[in-house]
Amino acid sequence: MAESVKVLPQDIQEIIEVHEWDMRTREGVQRFRELKAKCLPSVALDGDLVYESLIPMQEELIDEILRRYKEKNQNE
């Protein structure tokens, strides 16, 4: 799943911060439970669980990232 994030275009990479959790570790499991995820792989954006058990198409992921980015910055 992290690979699909790593190959995002540079302009998208510049507006996001990526964290990857290792599900083998207690820390990874704790984060998984905090996000109330059920399946692997899972992707959360801004702490919201958005994709579970599927790798989104790049366009779909970019659209969602940009939508959230604009929403957050609309008042600035």
Binding site: D22, R26, F32
Partner: protein, 318 residues
Amino acid sequence: MPDETQTKRFIYPTQGVCPPEIHFKLNNGNLEEIRFVGGGCPGNAQLVARLLEGKPLAEALEYLVGIDCRNGTSCPDQLAAAVTAAKKGNLTPAESFRVHADTANRCRVGLISSIEGNSVILQKLIQQMQASGIDACYCLGNLTGDSAHNKDLIQNIRKHNIVAIQGEGDWGYARGQEKENMPPLEQKDRDWLLRLPQVLSFQMKQKRGFVFFGDYIQSLPDYSDFEPYALEMNMVCGLTHFMQDETVFPALEAMIPQFRADIIIFSQLKKWGHWHIAGKDFISLGPASDAKGLSWGLLEVDGEKIEIKIMQAEYEGG
């Protein structure tokens, strides 16, 4: 180095490289069993480990120092830092959870859990298990409990050579956390309790299994997520809350291919349960005694199938 005459195991938390930990042993000043765990390039890491296996520290350091990969360091450079710290006595030897391996191949295993200081119940269960033709008995914690008879129980377990593992209560008791009815332990009993294995691995035909008490193991000072059986424990304790949260079973199923064990048995829940998921068996043991009487588990393997039968006995008093 403080003492080079025996093997010591170390876990080094890395900085600036992909694997979060390096595990290694020092045996009379020679490096052994190097493992870069949790990330990085597994092929290269294995090569480094093979090339350095058995090498004296000074010779190994010549190969390791001054290699840069990222962040001004590298896996070899971090290993150099790790062995240097161990050599100077700045890295404490790891005391992770203790694993005892039952090396015989078993067919019928008796399982007892939560005896909690009742030696009479233990005797009765042993008699019944022997009559049932078991070929091994594993006694999971808590062995001791809020009872005045913990000493008798410890003596009985030792007398019968029962394979026992430590529970959270035993761990606390050994470290001086006595409850109301618990007499202070003599030093030899305290040491015995403290040194009990915390994990027991076993083999039943083609199946590899292990038993453990519960999540207190994860809070042991040098617990590593990358030890053998830690993955299974992390999934049982942290992810599924002892198999009580079925909603995360899809995630559990995704992690199962990385398991080394086929049978995972625990006793913290104090409730009987058996789950068969993606070819693995998860078993929760109920207590040795409750309002219904006494109970123990009979674990059998029939081809690919694992069966746990709850065996019950009447018991009055105690």
